[in-house]
Assembly symmetry: C2
Homo-oligomer: 291 residues x 2
């Protein structure tokens, strides 16, 4: 991995030190992308992240974490982010930038705009397309963003220089940075991430609640293992994400229900041609998805 000669930021406040926050911290250290990292979390795991060597210090409050930082990174669950904007504002250095890692952008941007006042201009929203079904700082990986895509959603108030520095940070962690406006981000990620999680949770819960859950553990092949992997994700985290992005997700749900109804009608009717025709657009789409 390439290591920067000069860090992009000198002192980082990391608000939320779970799998994503912990990986940001680990990657920043390995890449030399930032100086000292102080972690804070409303739960108890900032100390755990400190013990794991992911961060340099565990702060007891948002104020203590943010005070000296020239970059504040929010990596907390979506529902915790609005309160963090309120709490960090009085302690924010006049030159500090803010970014985040949330999987939905429109509501976080709205909360930031409402709560940060003029400092909103220094908030450049990010969404790293990385992660796994695992969670907590023990699951952090320094190479999580290496080769991953990071979406940055610049706001009209952002300066070109602020956007460039946030892009530089993610690039330094090995990521490929792509810009997208927030509403389009949310609609596209409902399609490629949020709704697929809902479908897979439903598939796994149907197995779990049925009479063959033990057999399913024993006889699951590679197909079910791969297709169900994201079903091991955190129910609370994903309830948060889906509710936060409800309208785009419900649009995806309606499209899925149309496909499901057609498939079941063909299956019940014993119509082989119609059933294969239901599968064909999906099969062609998936074959077009490059490895």
């Amino acid at each position: 991995m390439t290591r920067l000669a000069t860090p992009v930021f000198d002192r980082v406040a990391l608000l939320g030190v779970g799998m994503i926050g912990g990986s940001v911290a680990a990657a920043c250290r390995v890449r030399g992308a930032t100086g000292r990292i102080t972690g804070y979390t409303p739960q108890s795991d900032a100390r755990e992240a400190l013990e794991l060597g992911l961060i340099d210090a565990a702060a007891g409050s948002v104020a203590e974490a943010v005070r000296d930082a020239d970059l504040v990174i929010l990596a907390a669950p979506i529902s915790a982010q609005p309160a963090l904007f309120t709490d960090l504002l009085p302690h924010l250095r006049a030159d500090a930038l803010i970014t985040d890692c949330a999987s939905t952008k429109a509501s976080t941007v709205a909360a930031a705009r409402e709560r940060l006042g003029p400092a909103f201009a220094r908030y450049v929203p990010s969404h790293p397309i990385a992660g796994s079904e695992r969670h907590g700082p023990q699951a952090a990986r320094a190479d999580l963003f290496n080769g991953a895509m990071v979406i940055v959603c610049p706001q009209p108030e952002n300066s070109v220089g602020s956007v460039a520095r946030i892009r530089d940070l993610w690039s330094a962690l090995g990521a490929r940075v792509v810009e997208l406006d927030a509403p389009r981000h949310d609609r596209v990620f409902a399609e490629v991430s949020h709704w697929p999680h809902a479908v897979v949770f439903a598939m796994c819960s149907a197995i779990a609640n049925g009479g063959f859950s033990e057999d399913a553990l024993r006889f699951a092949g590679a197909g079910l293992r791969d297709s169900s992997r994201i079903g091991a994700s955190s129910p609370q985290l994903w309830a948060d994400i889906l509710l936060d992005n409800r309208e785009p997700v419900l649009e995806c749900a309606r499209a899925f229900e149309v496909e499901l109804a057609a498939l079941l009608a063909a299956l019940k009717a014993g119509d082989r041609v119609a059933l294969a025709a239901c599968f064909e657009p999906g099969s062609r789409w998936r074959q077009a998805l490059k490895p």
Copy 2:
């Protein structure tokens, strides 16, 4: 890989030489599990398998393939298997055994029982839990069954010796053999394979037929890639499998629809606790699935 000193069978007739049949042939050769393998397929790919070096000879008819064989392996699509039983019977050696690779068992067993007469006693049904979304002899892999599970469904008419020889064949290819009765096999595999394929096809077709299919190709992360992988499977092959195992699959569909309805109700109501509760059994089940 261990190679047998003495093959389990001397001459094999392989009826169907696609990805699964081709992999059986390649594995038999590498492991020394059988002698000469003659392939036959109603389509054109037995010649392709010959050119790929998977089989020793390409037969022009079922009669020619089966005549000298002490083992006949059916690896054709499910809907093609009943006719193959009829066609092979007049040419079958008196001591030959028969097995197959179909993903559903009850209908294939019924067809064999009806068409093979007394020779049904020499048909020992198999289902190798291996494969991929790829198809055709180009996708064949000699190590496909190495470490995989193979379900064998012994019939009351089978001799203990016949069952043991079919088990020995799969074991020689590196597989772990498990016995299951055919109706239970079909119900369990509806749960762990057939219905999950239907769900993933519906998910992929909804993306393909929606307005964001290009964005989805661009922004798909590891989660969607893994969960959609089996969506690239053959629509015809899976229409066959789902129709062949319709009643067990429809049982799974009903359980899935219950979960989906609960999830959507919680999402529409904005009920975070209820939504997370929908995900929890599935998340726990998936976490219990060993890697």
